[in-house]
């Protein structure tokens, strides 16, 4: 029985010794922060052009997180590659020959990669927040205001969960290409489009990214967005259910299929 601390240590070695880890996480951070800053600056200069509803529900915290839409894709790539390269390289057979207990193997890997994604996510969300607020000028808010700290920490958790969800999907599909081909269009296009289509948005509300991103809003239904039948924590809860389901599915596939 390979001991859990040993497997954790080994997974950490694996993760830190490939360059894809560095560039996916770095681009998640840079893209999110840079795009959030750009949109914050844009909204500051165009604040007066906003509609009354949008002005009434203006949410400076949420605005500074605008970059997440793009930045989360880098997190998806990170999550997919952590698992997918085991399959594409054939390393999975070496790994499972060394750790025959598949639950230990998968959940150690997920724990290490998830913790790393969470840390990077938190750094990203704090950087995005402070830079965005600095650029919003007179429309800014502060970290001490009601619910703001919850939203900023929630932004970090959101990124970590996106990575975990992707790992689960990649474990189920056992292929980087397939997972990316499904997840990237889903998060970047399908989920965004469906959430704007009248009937479909009732369903889209319960998608992991739509539900989870509620945690980043300080003002309910910020910027005139759709009303949701759940609060910020409820939304995060829905996302957690998605993540748990994908990881459980991944585990069952790994356990039952031949490597």
């Amino acid at each position: 029985m390979a001991a859990v601390p040993a497997v954790l240590q080994s997974e950490w070695t694996k993760i830190r010794t490939v360059s894809s880890t560095l560039w996916t996480l770095a681009s998640a951070l840079i893209v999110t922060v840079a795009m959030g800053a750009a949109l914050s600056a844009l909204l500051k200069s165009t604040f007066d052009d906003l509609s009354d509803v949008e002005r009434a529900t203006f949410d400076p915290t949420f605005v500074s997180f605008s970059g997440m839409v793009l930045g989360q894709l880098a997190m998806v790539v990170f999550g997919v590659l952590v698992v997918g390269t085991e399959y594409s390289s054939g390393m999975i057979r070496t790994s499972l020959a060394a750790v025959p207990q598949r639950a230990t193997f998968l959940f150690s890997k997920v724990a290490v990669a998830g913790a790393l994604a969470l840390i990077v996510g938190l750094v990203t969300s704090f950087l995005s927040f402070f830079l965005g607020q600095a650029l919003l000028g007179e429309h800014r808010t502060t970290i001490g205001a009601d619910n703001v700290l919850r939203a900023v920490v929630g932004g970090g958790i959101y990124m970590g969960l996106i990575a975990l969800f992707s790992m689960g999907v990649a474990t189920m599909l056992r292929s980087s290409m397939l997972s990316l081909g499904i997840l990237v269009p889903f998060f970047f296009l399908i989920s965004q489009i469906l959430s704007a289509v009248p009937k479909a948005k009732e369903v889209a509300k319960y998608f992991p990214d739509q539900a989870g991103s509620k945690i980043m809003q300080v003002v309910p239904d910020a910027l005139g967005s759709e009303k949701a039948p759940y609060g910020p924590w409820g939304g995060l809860g829905i996302m957690l259910v998605w993540v748990a389901a994908s990881l459980l599915g991944g585990y069952l596939v790994l356990k039952r299929r031949d490597a």
Binding site: M1, A2, A3, A6, V7, Q9, S10, E11, T13, K14, T17, V18, S19, S20, T85, E86, S89, G90, M91, I92, R93, T94, L96, A97, A98, V99, P100, Q101, D258, A259
Partner: protein, 389 residues
């Protein structure tokens, strides 16, 4: 000790391995042979718990692999040389494996030296040649100093020096009392490396016996004797004399005689005594390769056929100069089909007649007495240790 009992694996309708039972004993190199697609790798993966058998079981030291305590310290395996993340350096790859089993980092540098990769430890394995990949895979197998070692096609892609090194490494590991299980489709390589052979074809056991016994059971050394064509009577006369002396005599299509069971000198003496002149008296020895080919020829899944290039060539135009001889009648080969392999002694090999389903396995698994195994390994003393190269 690896023990398989009734091991069966089906992928949908295709049966990859059927009812395979064998034991791999410590102290000898056990070769695992079979044609492409015969189920060698599937069996290896089942031993390592990567694939779950459809039925039957396989254990290492009495435990199924997945229940082994600290598997990397007990079993080392090379399955696929390229099963490495290409972006990771050789050293980091081994380090991640070492940490799993609580093996100190020092050991990583040690094995890198053992396999001769000490100069490329920091290089990404993406740039490795197949041979370097094999060495890295062997290093991973040796990492935990395990008592049981499995190597799937370890000499693929190695240069002659590397092949020699692997050969000696296997023998050395076995001589240290470890269980060494090496798969290959190269009989000639196994002949030099292994002490014991397990041969499978189409997923079923064809033979399980020491190499020596395998050769003598499956080979057919014979002498070809030719008497003057001009005097047919001499041929009949010699046949009679040889049969009387205890030899088996078969006629070949071109009139030569194929004699088994008598040494050349005795044949010569007998011919002399019978006053028969000989035009040819030549020894023919079956190699292990031939023995193997004949054993497995009924069980080959992927067989190449002649490349008929006729339709690509311009039709011959008879009568024109420069097109060589007119078509010659095809001369039948002197040995009937199955060709280049010496046919077996009559009645010994059911495969000789026609390809049959392996169900009629010619050699029931004959477990040699356990005491025979260590002796075998002692008979192979020629290990020159080139380990620390």
């Amino acid at each position: 000790m690896i023990e398989a009992v009734g091991l069966t694996k089906r992928y949908g309708a295709k049966t990859a391995v059927y009812n395979l039972s064998f034991q791999v004993r410590p102290g000898v190199v056990t070769g695992f042979l079979g044609p492409n697609g015969s189920g060698k790798s599937t069996t290896m993966r089942m031993i390592l718990g990567l694939d779950a058998p459809t039925s039957g079981r396989v254990t290492i030291g009495g435990h199924p692999f997945r229940q082994l305590p600290n598997a990397p310290r007990q079993v080392g395996a090379l399955l696929d040389a390229k099963a490495v993340h290409g972006g990771r350096s050789a050293r980091n790859h081994l380090l991640s494996l070492a940490q799993l089993a609580g093996i100190p980092a020092r050991r990583v540098d040690e094995v890198l030296g053992v396999v001769g990769l000490q100069d490329v430890t920091k290089r990404r394995s993406k740039g490795f040649s197949l041979g370097m990949g094999q060495r890295l895979g062997i290093a991973a197998a040796l990492l935990g100093d395990p008592q049981v070692l499995l190597f799937d096609e370890p000499v693929n892609g190695l240069d002659p020096e590397g092949i020699l090194w692997v050969r000696n490494l296997m023998k050395k590991l076995a001589a240290e009392g470890r269980t060494v299980f090496v798969s290959s489709h190269l009989m000639s390589e196994m002949a030099l490396t292994a002490d014991h052979l397990i041969v499978i074809g189409r997923g079923q056991l064809l033979a399980d016996m020491p190499v020596k016994q395998f050769i003598s059971a499956n080979s057919a050394d014979f002498a070809r004797v030719r008497t003057p064509d001009t005097e047919p009577g001499q041929r009949e006369k010699l046949s009679g004399v040889l049969a009387e002396a205890g030899g088996q005599v078969l006629s070949e299509t071109d009139g030569a005689l194929r004699v088994t069971g008598l040494p050349l000198s005795r044949i010569s003496d007998l011919a002399h005594g019978a006053d028969v002149r000989l035009w040819e008296l030549s020894p023919h020895q079956a190699s292990l390769e031939e023995a193997y080919m004949r054993l497995t020829q009924g069980a080959v899944d992927y067989r190449s056929s002649d490349d008929k290039l006729a339709h690509l060539q311009a039709p011959p135009q008879p009568g024109q100069p420069g097109y060589g001889l007119p078509p010659q009648p095809v001369v039948p080969a002197d040995v009937p089909q199955q060709g280049w392999y010496a046919p077996p002694p009559p009645g010994q090999n059911p495969y000789a007649a026609a390809p049959q389903p392996p169900a009629a396995a010619p050699a029931p698994p004959q477990a040699p007495p356990p005491s025979a195994a260590p002796q075998q390994s002692l008979q192979k003393p020629s290990d020159t240790t080139e380990d620390a190269r």
